[in-house]
Point group: C2
Chain length 253, copies 2
């Protein structure tokens, strides 16, 4: 383990969360000595991972990171394979479509195609969300080992975010069963008021649910009657992607 590299990464993360910080602010935030921060910033800036605003001597993330991030996205198998299916779902539904992967017991949004409608879900690539209150998250959660899922639920807790958030463990366990039976998860304004999503999990060759896709739109457009139809489309897409990834379902599923 290389401490300076570790520090550099933490600096990048901090700059990602708070744009335009100076040496002292970073040093205080991270509790690194100013001089260390300074020399690391100098190095990062020399390669373009961050940029120094000369007038203020403050730093923000740089162009090279955009380049690397997109390279990472292109190299990520799941993105490559899923993108056409996202496009297709977007065409079919005219709603915003997301691809997420499980990372650190959260979902990380790694691809997105926005709806063309005026009232639409916003693009959120690179953001994270909890598992228990999103369709993408619940779809994955429902397909993890029971003990693992329970662990996550208990460790992270079921914080109330909206009126509809499921905050009771027993109800959540039933919900996960429903999701397994249906093959897709519905988020009925559990994460954001007026936002309804349907998500289904993607499995890798080992059968692990490690990613998921969702379609999301305003509650006004998604009532009980059409949400299941959407759910079936999403489920079908994930089934095909999982197949391409080498998953061969043993059961009738």
């Amino acid at each position: 383990m290389v401490s300076s590299v570790l520090k550099a990464i933490q600096i990048l993360e901090t700059l990602g969360n708070n744009e335009n910080l100076g040496v002292t602010e970073l040093s205080r935030n991270l509790e690194f000595p100013k001089s260390s921060v300074h020399s690391i910033l100098e190095t990062l800036a020399s390669e373009g991972l961050i940029e120094k605003v000369p007038e203020t001597s403050k730093y923000h993330l740089g162009l090279k990171l955009i380049e690397l991030g997109n390279r990472a996205q292109l190299n990520l198998d799941i993105c490559k394979i899923s993108h056409p299916y996202l496009k297709n779902l977007n065409k079919l539904t005219d709603e915003t479509v997301h691809l997420t992967v499980l990372d650190n017991d959260e979902v990380l949004y790694v691809d997105c195609i926005e709806s063309e409608q005026w009232l639409r879900t916003y693009s959120v690539i690179g953001l994270r969300a909890p598992l228990y209150c999103t369709s993408v998250g619940k779809a994955v959660l429902a397909n993890l080992d029971y003990s693992h899922a329970l662990n996550i639920i208990r460790e992270k807790g079921l914080q109330r975010i909206t009126e509809n958030t499921i905050t009771d463990e027993k109800i959540m366990i039933k919900e996960l069963e429903t999701i397994r039976n249906k093959g897709y998860a519905i988020d009925n304004m559990e994460h954001e008021d007026q936002l309804v999503c349907v998500g289904a999990a993607i499995r890798n060759a080992k059968g692990e649910a490690f990613a998921s896709i969702s379609v999301s739109g305003p509650a006004a457009r998604h009532n009980i009657s059409n949400i299941d139809e959407l759910g079936e489309s999403v489920k079908e897409a994930t089934r095909e992607i999982s197949w391409k990834l080498g998953y061969r379902s043993g059961s009738i599923n």
Copy 2:
């Protein structure tokens, strides 16, 4: 300057260009000792910037980089401000629209909205291209200091890429003058066969042309008659963006 951080960055870049490299391959490529590569990889992997494929002990770029890259993109003022204009141009033209910034005497594609048509320009965020043979590049080049532009042209050279690439310095200098007069640059299959683009430069508050926007599509759809119309739309968008960035043109331009 911190050598280990510098090495880490070079490793990330190398992994961006060649996915799935092992310790030895990286060590050979970069001429770093294996042990150094090993400990840096370990550190990068611990934070998720890269991922190790356990079966092969090879590494590729990780999820955290997608996150950081998108954070960088969101924080980049020019992206924030330009995105609505890109959307608008895309709607207006139904062609693929790109935003690039000048970086290291090249253009770096930092945002893109793809056409919905079957035959379309592909999305290329994170890629780079030379200045002399792209509309986005020429638009910027035309608005740099004459000596600076000439320097770039001479240092990088005018390599022939397609039949239409401008490879003669004198012709290029005239072309740049035309671009300044018109306010937009046309790439008539100079970078890729059958691909036609129109681009215009964006200026910051200091008046520096540091970014540009283009609309691009197949030559079949863009003849002499409609290309100038597109050019005017692109020019108008860049004019408004430059204004928002604080640029107050002194001349009639």
